[in-house]
Structure formats: C-alpha cells, structure tokens
C-alpha cells in the first residue's frame, strides 16, 4: 500500500489518479460526475472503467482500482473487506412497447407477469397476444432489486423469459417487440418505449423520494481502507455535496438526500 501511494504522489507532480471500476449502470453517472469534477479540480485525473459490479468489487479488493462501483449490495465476504458509500439511488421502471394499451399495473400483476401466472396481455385488459418477459441476468443489481421489491425469486422467474444484458439491450428488445415487457433504470427512459405506472403511481424521481414509488436501488462506491487516497475521498465528498447531487439528478438518477 505505502509504496504504491508514494509512487502515485511522486510521479504525479501534483496530478493524482483515482481509478474507479465496476458497474456499467453506475458508470455513465460516474463519468458525468468525473467530467464536472475535473473542471473544478483539474489536477485530479479520474479513470472510470465500466466492467460490471463484481469485477469492480474484485478490483477494489485486489487493489487494481481504488474505488469499485456496484449496482448490487455487497455480499458478506465482500462487505467485510470494503467500505461502501451510497452515492445515489436508481429508480427502476417497467416498460413496454409504445403500442401496448396496458399502461398501469399493480405490483401483484407485475409479479404474476414475471412469474408466468399471467401470460397474455388480454388478462390485463390489453390485446390478445402472448406476453414476452424480458429480464436482466441473474446477479445483476437491477434484477436483484427488482425481484426483491416485486417479491419473487430468481427460481420463480418464467423460464422462457428473454434475458438481456444491460439496460440498453432491454430497451432495444422491448422497443422492437410489441409483446414485450421489461424493466430499466430511469436514466434510460426515452420515446422508444412506454413506461408503466405501478399501483397508479408514475415512475418519477419525486415519487421515489417521497416513497410513493418503491422500485429503486442504491448505487454504491466501495473502497478498501488501506488503498484509498485523499483524492479519492475528495471525489466522494464532491459527489455527496449539493453540487454533486445536482449532477446526479440531472443525469436521471435520484439524489441521496
């Protein structure tokens, strides 16, 4: 640890590098934060690698990166080695093809759809067509959070569901298939898909903050204490500052406070 720190400092001549790696969901937000941060603090160089939550956590533990980004909760073994900071929350929204007439679901219906009890849109007042469920991969932070809140387990997920990796892929899949239903982060909402209300509540940041809308999860920064520099701490401080949180909300995520 020590020798590493020295190296960074001596070679830096005033420039510190903070290496961050992990979740592809947190990554874009972190990039935006880093860009703004750099305008303020030009002698800190922030490197962001979007390689998946687990890889990021592994890197934080092994010291390859100073900070890991995670969109899932730490497991026990991991938590014992790392310190975590929630930098933002991410809202999750259920999406369908824009042509779909179904615009509102109860949480129970969402569960029934994803567990295969409801298999046709006409059971929900829509057209007579098969439902194609699109989910994220097992282990993904969004999926963990989604399943936990909706209340079903991975084993219960309907077996012939399409598994897409990443918000973008769910979006593309749903946007090109009028049978489909899936879930994505708030940040990725656009015109190509329709967002659904849950229990009559619209998916917005306010509704998440006032706890009317329950589909959300934390975005985590994790680090190992022995491998954490001042510059890293300053960056996290910046994110949690009002300036930083403003950027969080501009990016479509939900501020911590």
């Amino acid at each position: 640890g020590d020798s590493n720190d020295n190296e960074t400092e001596s070679s830096g001549t005033g420039t510190d590098t903070v290496s961050i790696s992990g979740s592809t969901s947190v990554g874009p937000l972190a990039e935006k934060l880093a860009e703004k941060y750099k305008e303020k603090q030009s002698n800190t160089n922030i490197e962001i690698n979007q390689i998946g939550s687990s890889a990021g956590i592994t890197n934080a533990i092994s010291g390859v990166s100073q900070i890991g980004m995670s969109s899932r909760d730490l497991k026990e073994e991991e938590a014992s080695e790392l310190t975590e900071t929630v930098i933002a929350y991410d809202g999750i929204v259920v999406v369908t093809h824009p042509s779909n007439k179904v615009k509102d679901l109860t949480m129970e219906e969402v569960k029934q759809i994803f567990t295969g009890e409801i298999t046709n849109w006409n059971q929900l007042g829509g057209e007579d067509m098969e439902i194609v469920v699109v989910s994220r991969e097992d282990g993904s932070g969004s999926r963990d959070a989604f399943q936990e809140i909706v209340g079903y387990s991975s084993g219960e997920l309907i077996r012939n569901s399409i598994i897409a990796s990443g918000n973008g892929n769910i979006k593309t899949t749903v946007a090109t298939n009028k049978h489909a239903v899936g879930f994505i982060s708030f940040e990725y909402i656009d015109d190509s898909i329709a967002t659904l209300k849950i229990n009559g509540v619209e998916a917005t940041a306010e509704n998440v903050l006032n706890q009317q809308y329950s589909l959300s999860r934390p975005f985590l920064f994790v680090h190992k204490d022995g491998n954490f520099t001042e510059a890293g701490q300053e960056f996290i401080d910046y994110i949690l500052s009002p300036d930083g949180q403003k950027i969080v909300s501009e990016a479509g995520a939900i501020p911590v406070k």
Binding site: T24, P28, K32, E47, I51, A55, G168, N169
Partner: protein
C-alpha cells in the same frame, strides 16, 4: 445429366457468392444508414464527453494502439511458430501437441481470454488495466489465426524452391527469408488481415484487461477504451444504436485503410509479383 449437375453446382456457387455479397451489402448498408448522421468532424476528432454522443478520438487512438501492439507481438511469433511447425519440426508428437493447442485456442470464447488476461496480465504481472495488458491478451487470441494461415501458406511453397535454394549452399534461415516467406506472403498477409479484424472486433477480452476509460491514453500502460468497447457499452447500456453504428462506420473505414496498406506493403515485399 452431367451438364445439369455442372450447371446446378455452378448455380450454387453463384448463389452462395451472391448471398455473401448480399449479406455484406446489407450489414454495411445498415450500419451506414443508421450511423451516418452522427459522423462529423467533432464526432471523430473531438474529445469524449459523457453527455450527448461525445467525440471518439481517444477511442480511435486506443484502437490503433491495440492493433499495432498486438500485431507487432503476434505477427513475428505467429509466423516463426508456423515456420517451426512447417519447416523445422519433425512431424511427430510435439507438432501434434502444438497444432492441437493452437486449434483449441481458436475456439475459446473471448470472455475467457478476458478473464484470463485480467488475472494473468493485469493482476499477476502487475500491468494493471492497460492497453499493453489488452494487447498481450489479444496476441494470444490472434496467434492461432496467424499460425494456421501462415502454415497453410508455407505448405503451398513448392519443395523445389527449398531444394533449389539449399542446394546453393544457403542456410535454412536464408532460404526461409529470401525464398519461402516471400512466396508465402499473400497467405500470411490474409492471416494478418483476419487478425486485424479479430483485434478490432474484440470487446469482452479488451474491456476486462484495458478497461473502459474514455480518455486519451497517456501511454500504453494507461487504461483506455477502444472503439468496439465503446460501441459495446453504448448498445449494452443506453441502447443508442445510432451511436454504435456511427462508431461502426469509423471502424470499417479504419479496417479498410489497414487492409489496403497491408496489401500494398505485401506487394512491395513480395518479389514474386512482377
């Protein structure tokens, strides 16, 4: 009857070629159609920004770095390995083992290479997430392609060339470098071109070893993002297909330029081409 069979086969040949070309046209056409709107000076030569579509200049540079470094390492090793297998080794166990190893390497999914590279080059050899770690991983990926294509090219060099040269009191090495390799050049070159394709097209193995830092790399020990990784992230996370396609256009142009220069170089090198 024979006429019919001939015509039928000829038809199949035409049909297959037509199909291949059609696929080519449709795919390239699709990519251009989807992406051309984003192509402008700032997009290509601008710095990256997480907001909007960003510039991709850092990724272009990173891509070129990975191609050049991987090929600089893999091409000589691959060619020399093929030379060993074809020109030196007694066709026995060792050769079978080596050949089997290279062939097995071709089928390993790139994600496994990526994981391996992340553990071996990034962590064990302490290269960190860096262009060099990715290039070394890519070297392993393209080695089999170069070895195999070079071997095939060497096989086509007539024995009489070897005899003619050796009988003049040249060493194997001289024969190799003056007669055999030049005659095998076109084949070797197609292997290199295929490898470039593989390098350029790789994503999983790269983002696990070079990372995805969207900034201009300071050196080959920096973490950085290649064009393909960029288009991968973009599809994966934001589903911005236009952007992915625009990056694709740039990639196609880069490959085109590289292929043309490779062909040009081989023409220069290959004395057989009078």
């Amino acid at each position: 009857m024979r006429k019919f069979k001939d015509n039928f086969m000829l038809g199949l040949l035409w049909f297959s070629a037509f199909l291949t070309v059609a696929v080519l046209v449709v795919i390239v056409g699709y990519i251009f159609f989807k992406g051309f709107r984003l192509i402008n000076f700032d997009f290509i030569f601008g710095d990256y920004s997480p907001v909007g579509h960003g510039g991709i200049w850092p990724m272009i540079i990173t891509t070129i770095y990975t191609i050049v470094i991987s090929l600089i390492i893999a091409t000589p090793i691959g060619i020399l390995a093929a030379v060993y297998l074809q020109e030196y080794a007694k066709q026995g166990r060792l050769v079978r083992v080596i050949r089997f190893a290279t062939e097995s390497l071709t089928g390993i999914p790139s994600i496994i290479y990526g994981l391996f590279g992340a553990v071996f080059f990034v962590t064990t050899l302490k290269l960190g997430m860096s262009i060099i770690a990715a290039s070394l991983t890519l070297t392993i990926i393209v080695l089999p392609v170069i070895i195999r294509t070079t071997e095939e090219a060497l096989k086509t060099v007539p024995l009489s060339y070897r005899e003619g040269s050796l009988a003049l009191g040249t060493t194997k090495l001289q024969t190799l470098y003056k007669v055999i390799l030049p005659s095998a050049m076109p084949g070797i070159l197609s292997g290199i071109i295929l490898s470039m394709g593989r390098i350029v097209g790789e994503s999983a193995a790269i983002f696990l070893t070079a990372g995805t830092v969207a900034a201009m790399p300071e050196s080959i020990f920096s973490s950085a993002r290649t064009l393909t990784v960029h288009s991968y992230l973009v599809t994966q996370e934001s589903g911005d297909i236009e952007l992915a396609a625009a990056v694709g256009i740039v990639l196609i142009v880069i490959i085109l330029v590289l292929n043309l220069s490779a062909t040009f170089i081989s023409k220069k090198l290959n004395k057989a081409d009078y």
